[in-house]
């Protein structure tokens, strides 16, 4: 009995010492999935042994909610923010909580998003296209309209734009290109609103969905691991750059700058390209068996979006979308 | 023909023989007790009569009707036997009022509503529960609960009432009162009673006849007075009340204590049937020993301790290494601890 108690005390002392979560480190909030941010982290830590690097990966919506709550409470954890919802960055810039930094590597960046003052800098030109399950779909879809066909009835998925920045971007892009009727038609075909942008791809891999609007590198990663997925770019490419920004007042400014420099470096861009998403630097070679389109070609085909207004209309857009797609109606 | 007949009844639980070849007959209107220490098989026997246990061997008849038979594999279900039964833990249903408890057996029988009403009222009157009729059992005392159980058991006017240690959860005063109540009701309705208890005073006070049991076997079936005054064997003697068992050896035809042969004799004769063994036991009850001034009796001893208990005075007298317990009424001459005294045994019972 005494021994047991002693063990309990010891263990809880450990617990309390382990509970010292606070400490000097670089914390990155990102919507990038593990396969990408994990590889980048490894490379970054290798070059910068002195920096304790930590990241929190979640959908853009969650990240923003988290940051809002942190601002409310006055205790900021985030040092660097990197996700795919460009409008948020404009918004944060307006609110004055971003630290401007023009990286020496910024001059190599090519992207639809331009921010010369350096409040944020695009790090990747994320693309979204059609992810489909090759076990069930023998003829690959070629256009967004293909997804309205009966064979996709009840089996086409779009991630929840409230949870995921890329999902929001893709909704805006498609609505702009084809009008809201597109989504109304989707609904008629019993399209599904999923959760995160990763989950719709997983659901497609499983066959629960037959196709979805898939993020390039998420799909690529699963295909690499053996998932029976196909990935095709219709004529109209949804391109959503993912900018990185440094939070104003971060105590780890030097480390944050180092990380931004790193992200824009050739080494990191190569990792990004290898992970299956489009880099922002043209001097990076795409991997051989890639499903990605040629970067320049892709930028040409991209649906042009006005990121500055997207944030103002976000709530209304999401509401409209949810009203159309929300199940049970 | 007796009312209740048990013939060669045997019951085993695994390796243990709980009841061993029991034969018994109980008359109509008789109050019959099964008396014995716990584990002697008395409750098992009762439960076989009630129908909760089947038999390994033998058969049971009540009122000339066969109700259990191992041979014919025939067991009348307990609910069809129409006995009354009262359990030790009261077993009154806590979710029914007193009235509902007592009326339950009548309702089950499908008695007409107004008859239920009147018969239940009558039963409640008989057991002094009229005032509590609409209360729930948990608002009542132990004695009242036991009376509900009694009223309920008697509601259908059973020919046989089975009582399983019904009073052991009551305090002594209530126990005595309930005993009288059971007896009164029995006189009034003339049912037979089988009463299971381990308390010899209770068995004696209530019963017409007692069966003393041990290890599933009958030791003695007799009237209370006979069981007390003429126990069939040493076990019955010891079980039925406080007792002294004094080991004696013969000397000069007299019985003396082995450890203190010179202290005098316990008896001036030694029964010839034990002479061969060279030793015997004299059994006597504490009240049957005469406590006399020194020199007046056969055996000399010293009062080791004395306790004045009001009605009785309790002595322990040592003779050699034997302690003899003696109880005397308060009106008899008093001895003090440490005094020398003499003992006489006017009514020795001999065992080997």
């Amino acid at each position: 009995m005494k021994k047991l108690l002693a063990v309990l005390v010891l263990v809880s002392l450990l617990a309390i010492s382990g509970a010292a979560w606070a400490g000097e480190k670089l914390t990155v909030y990102t919507s990038m999935k593990e396969s990408l941010i994990g590889a980048l982290k490894d490379a970054f830590v290798k070059n910068n042994a002195g920096i304790e690097f930590d990241y929190y990966s979640a959908g853009a919506g969650k990240l923003m909610a988290k940051i809002a709550a942190e601002r409310e409470s006055g205790k900021m954890t985030v040092d660097v923010l990197w996700h795919s919802e460009v409008p948020d960055f404009y918004q944060l810039k307006k609110e004055g909580i971003l630290e401007p930094y023009v990286s020496p590597e910024a001059k190599f960046v090519e992207s639809p998003v331009k921010e010369p003052e350096g409040f944020f800098t695009p790090v990747r030109n994320g693309t979204l296209a059609i992810t489909y399950n090759t076990r069930f779909i023998k003829t690959a879809p070629t256009s967004w309209q293909d997804l309205l066909k009966p064979e996709y009835k009840g089996a086409f998925g779009i991630a929840n734009p409230a949870l995921s920045g890329t999902a929001y971007g893709s909704v805006v892009a498609l609505a702009q290109q084809f009008g809201w009727e597109y989504f109304e038609n989707c609904k008629k075909n019993e399209a599904k609103m999923g959760q995160g942008s990763g989950q719709v791809v997983d659901d497609t891999a499983m066959g629960d969905l037959l196709a979805c609007i898939g993020v390039d590198y998420i799909t690529t990663d699963k295909i690499k691991k053996g998932a029976t997925l196909g990935f095709v770019y219709p004529k109209e490419v949804i391109m959503l750059p993912s900018p990185v920004a440094i939070m104003k007042g971060t105590p780890n400014l030097a480390a944050a700058k180092k990380f931004v420099d790193f992200l824009l470096s050739r080494e990191a861009q190569q990792i990004i390209a290898n992970s299956g998403t489009l880099p922002v630097r043209a001097d990076v070679e795409l991997p051989k068996d890639t499903l990605l389109p040629n970067p320049h070609d892709a930028v040409q085909r991209a649906i042009v979006l006005d990121f500055t207004t997207m944030s103002a209309t976000k709530e209304a857009t999401i509401k409209k979308f949810t009203e159309i797609l929300r199940p049970g109606k | 023909m007796a009312f209740v007949e048990l013939r060669h009844v045997t019951k085993r639980f695994g390796q243990v023989t709980a009841v061993d070849d029991l034969c018994l007959s109980i008359e109509k209107g008789e109050c019959f007790s099964f008396l014995g220490p716990s584990g002697c098989g008395k409750t098992t026997t009762l439960r076989m009569v009630a129908g909760f246990e089947d038999l390994e061997e033998g058969e049971i008849e009540v009122g000339g009707k066969l109700i259990s038979s191992s041979l014919k594999k025939y067991y009348l279900a307990p609910e069809k036997r129409e006995f009354g039964m009262v359990f030790q833990a009261f077993a009154v249903w806590p979710h029914m009022t007193v009235f509902e408890n007592v009326a339950f057996p009548l309702r089950i029988k499908g008695v007409a509503r107004h008859e239920i009403e009147s018969r239940t009222k009558h039963s409640l009157e008989n057991t002094n529960l009229t005032k509590q009729a609409q209360l729930y059992p948990n608002e009542l005392s132990g004695g009242e609960k036991q009376r509900i159980a009694l009223a309920r058991a008697l509601a259908i006017n059973p020919g046989l009432l089975l009582l399983d240690e019904p009073l052991s959860n009551l305090d002594p005063h209530l126990r005595e009162e309930m005993r009288f109540e059971i007896k009164d009701l029995q006189r009034k309705y003339d049912f037979s009673i089988i009463y299971v208890t381990h308390d010899q005073a209770e068995a004696m006070a209530l019963s017409d006849r007692i069966m003393v049991m041990r290890d599933g076997k009958t030791q003695q079936i007799d009237t209370p007075l006979n069981v007390y005054a003429n126990p069939a064997n040493k076990f019955v003697f010891g079980f039925i009340g406080l007792s002294n068992f004094i080991p004696v050896v013969p000397r000069d035809g007299k019985a003396v204590l082995e450890s203190a042969p010179d202290a005098g004799q316990v008896s001036d004769s030694f029964p010839p049937e034990f002479a061969g063994a060279g030793r015997a036991t004299v059994a006597c009850r504490p009240a049957e020993v005469d406590l006399l001034p020194e020199g007046k009796g056969g055996l000399r001893g010293v009062i080791d301790r004395m306790a004045y208990l009001g009605e009785t005075v309790d002595y322990i007298v040592t003779v050699g290494d034997v302690e003899i317990r003696i109880q005397k009424g308060r009106r008899e001459p008093r001895f003090e601890a440490g005094m020398a005294c003499s003992l006489a045994f006017p009514k020795p019972t001999w065992y080997e």
């Binding site: 809880s12 709550a69 954890t77 | -």
Partner: protein
């Protein structure tokens, strides 16, 4: 208890208890009510009205109640049936079955939901796939993403509440209560209807109310199975509000209004339960240990036995196996074949991935720490509640009741309101806020276990030591604490194990680096990292089951010791 006027142990413990309960429990609740009803310093019901009249929230409220009601009914039916089967029939292997039926209790419901999602999602669920392949149909056998899907999953994991209560009541029930009815002429059917069922009714009701309480406040299952198809309950709605409205105060207020509804429902349920349990009429007096009347199932024996086995296989074995198998898959969506399997995921979540490693350690630290602190604090409070005669104890008793009626969601909101700077302490986004929330959440367990232990310590044991010359402190040290130690250790485990798999509270409180196991599994699933979610869930299951086995052995050993001589 001391020389008059001295500030002794009694006063110290009283004040300490008061402080703990006020700071940890009362303040958060108070702030929730305050936030809901007081706008700019004035009492104002408009926020409440606004939240309640919004179709979204109204729907969520309706859904919560409906869900809780259905789950309660199904759990009651299932739990009572099985309890009756294992106590009152001649079912084979009854004792073993009795233990097996409590296993679902150990398994976290949200992991179950995850497993069932993989088994019964409409097109891809393994069972549905098999079904569709077998019959060449395109309609799935069952769509788990539905109201009834949630009901069924919650039933699977919550029915032990009823089962344990009812089987306990059936076992404790004096068999002579039924025997006397037989003697009175009633057959088995009548006895069951008129005697047995009314007598176990309080146990049934009490178990059912626990289920209702739990289901009402449960986050995991409706979150995993409901949100995708637009089924929102109060806890999932609160989660959505907190996470999507960017931390604005309006969102928090809406969430607090809904919390108030949860607290009030919980209070009503607990009050009812207390009344039922306490109503003396239904006390079942335990009698001599005679074998209870056992119903011979005859021809139904084998079918019912098979039913039990199948039920256990379906609720326990199948989901567990699914979790592990999917955890072994290279990527989600591959067929379950050996060639597609690898231990890589387990290795990855256990040793490589910081997120999951952190989650495991966070959970371990948090639950160990919370269990220890709560065990001690609960011990102190129980001591004051059970043993001491101090003025103002009624207030402490009132506060002591509070933890019992606090659903996890409410606690989370309360600690956010209390601990994000309002009183000068800001621990939002750190592990400490989860720590504080766990203490509040599990205080009820500790109070229950410690009070029960203390009630066993008769006053005379302490008085005997005082009379032997021991001061109050010495009595406490040498007599009271050693005697309640088993109760305290029980409290420790009663807190440690559930905290290890906690989701409802932590999901509202986790920060970037403070995910718990539950949160990690939940968010991995949400993010489409299904195989990692399963691997981590597998690890969690091993931890939990291992822990349960450890306690079982500890308490069995103790029980043997206790029963050893007497």
């Amino acid at each position: 208890m001391n020389r008059t006027g001295k500030f002794g142990i009694a006063e110290l413990l009283f004040v300490l208890s008061l402080l703990i309960l006020i700071v940890i429990v009362a303040l958060p609740v108070l702030l929730i009510f305050w936030t809901s009803f007081v706008v700019d310093g004035h009492f104002n019901l408009s926020a409440v009205v606004e939240v309640l009249t919004k179709p979204d929230t109204f729907e969520a409220l309706k859904m919560s109640l409906l869900l809780a009601a259905c789950v309660t009914v199904t759990c009651t039916a299932v739990g009572t049936l099985f309890a009756w089967l294992v106590t009152r029939t001649d079912m084979p292997f009854k004792e073993t079955m009795k233990v097996l039926f409590t296993i679902p209790f150990m398994l976290p419901a949200f992991i179950g939901a995850l497993a069932w999602k993989m088994l019964l999602s409409p097109r891809a669920g393994y069972i549905n796939q098999f079904w569709m392949a077998l019959f060449g149909t395109r309609t799935p056998l069952f769509n788990i993403y539905s109201f009834w899907g949630i009901v069924i999953i919650e039933t699977m994991y919550l029915f032990p509440f009823v089962f344990i209560q009812v089987s306990g009541a059936l076992e404790r029930m004096d068999p002579t209560l039924e025997e006397s009815a037989r003697i009175a002429g009633a057959g088995l059917f009548t006895i069951t209807r008129k005697i047995t069922i009314p007598l176990i009714l309080p146990a049934v009701v009490s178990g059912a109310l626990l289920v209702c309480l739990y289901s009402l406040a449960h986050f995991g299952t409706p979150a995993i199975l409901g949100t995708e198809v637009g089924i929102y309950t109060i806890p999932t709605k609160i989660y959505e509000l907190i996470h999507q409205s960017a931390g604005s105060f309006t969102a928090i207020r809406a969430a607090t209004v809904m919390s108030v509804i949860l607290v009030l429902s919980a209070a009503v349920i607990l009050y009812t339960q207390n009344r039922v349990v306490k109503s003396g009429r239904f006390q079942i007096i335990a009698g001599k240990s005679v074998r209870p009347t056992v119903l011979k199932l005859r021809g139904l024996r084998t079918p019912l036995f098979i039913l039990c086995i199948v039920y256990l296989l379906v609720t326990v074995v199948m989901p567990t196996v699914t979790i592990f198998l999917v955890g072994l898959l290279k990527t989600y969506g591959l067929p379950l074949q050996l060639g597609n399997m690898t231990f890589e995921n387990f290795y990855y979540v256990l040793f490589k991935w910081k997120l999951t490693k952190d989650a495991i350690f966070n959970s371990l630290y948090l639950s160990l720490g919370a269990a220890l602190v709560t065990m001690v604090a609960g011990g102190i409070i129980s001591y004051v509640l059970v043993k001491m005669k101090v003025r103002g104890k009624w207030f402490l008793e009132f506060l002591g009741m509070l933890p019992f009626s606090l659903p996890g969601t409410v606690i989370a909101l309360g600690v956010i309101l209390t601990w994000s700077g309002r009183f000068g302490i800001n621990i939002y986004n750190t592990g400490w806020i989860i720590f504080v929330a766990y203490i509040a959440r599990y205080m009820a367990f500790s109070l229950k276990s410690n009070s029960a232990a203390l009630e066993q310590v008769h006053d005379s044991l302490v008085e005997a030591s005082r009379a032997s010359g021991a001061t109050p402190w010495q009595s406490l040290r040498d007599v009271v604490i050693p005697l309640i130690r088993p109760g305290m250790i029980a409290a420790f485990f009663l807190i440690f194990l559930p905290a290890l798999r906690e989701l409802t509270t932590s999901v509202l409180l986790y920060g970037p680096t403070t995910r718990t196991i539950g949160v990690a599994i939940y968010t991995l699933n949400e993010d489409g990292e299904t195989v990692y979610a399963c691997a981590l869930a597998g690890v969690a299951l091993l931890l939990i089951v291992g822990g349960e086995i450890l306690i079982k052995r500890f308490f069995e050993k103790k029980k043997r010791l206790d029963n050893g001589g007497a």
